[in-house]
Amino acid sequence: MIPSNLKRLAVAMTALIPVLAACSSGSDSTSPGETSGPPAAQGITHGPFFPECGGVTDQTMAEQTRVSGLVNTATNSVGCQWLAGGGILGPHFSITMYRGSPIGRERKTEELSRASVEDINIEGHDGFIALGEDPTLGNNLCEIGIQYDDDFFEWSISFAEKPFPDPCDIAKELTRQTIVNAK
């Protein structure tokens, strides 16, 4: 999700130094040759494979958002982010992939910070849709998370200035395309 107020934690971090210091001993307790079997994830079921950006192209993003000069700034294994001119001042659009992370936590975060969070089903897949309000822009933000067993993906659409199209219409369409692109 798009952050709302993170600066409050900066002060808190100073208080962590003693805790971190307490973790500083005992690095010799392992033998170098020791191997660990994959500790993995018993009872965890992963969802399907999604192509980079959920298979959504830069051209589709430009058409859907009607923002010119969008730059795909962070294409990688956990998603993609598009920013106007590549900078953070302006609208934010992103898709994020979570492989083995509970959708319930992300939804809870949204419920604590958004104007509304509701259930949604798109192409037969369940998830949530969160709507965000800005005092001057109105409903400028929409985020949709869709669950696949213990995985989920999330589209985040956030506009920074008027005029802009309905962010939830865009999020729904991009979610639909991503679901269709699952392999």
Partner: protein, 184 residues
Amino acid sequence: MTGPLRRVGACVIAVLAVVTMLVGCSRTVDGTAAKAGSGDVPRNDNSQKEYPNLLKECEVLTEDILAKTVGADPLDIQSTFVGAVCRWQAANPAGLIDITRFWFEQGSLDNERETANKLEYKVESRAIAGVPSIVMHPNDPNGACGVASDAGGVVGWWVNPQQPGIDACGMVIKLMELTLATSS
């Protein structure tokens, strides 16, 4: 979880516990506490679990440390996305750098390796701070580079420069060393 990871995990938990306490002191949320599913608050009743450590994940390394690692002024870094995946953008003198961090506590290094292979990234196995890890090299003209390590599920970093000529792999490995090294 094996020995060193258990220790790392214990420290992470200790740190997060403190963050939780501090977060707990710093914000008030309106409404009445209700068990998930109890149904009094329509839009809250379907959350599947209670997670008191909300918003914790992005703070394991401070923004100052992030900025320094990617060669940016600490004033020139800003968060753009938070949760189990966090994103920042930092201004290196050579250009903008996008940083991504992920922590999937029910994920695995094997699953991240499989995903990277399907994405046709070049995947290199190595140890970082003694922890089994992979370094991921997409075919990116700007030299984007990612790393994932077998700790607390799976934890990872990506650095996506917006222009060529930046040592993204060196940066992500350093960020992972800082994340995993509780003893240095």
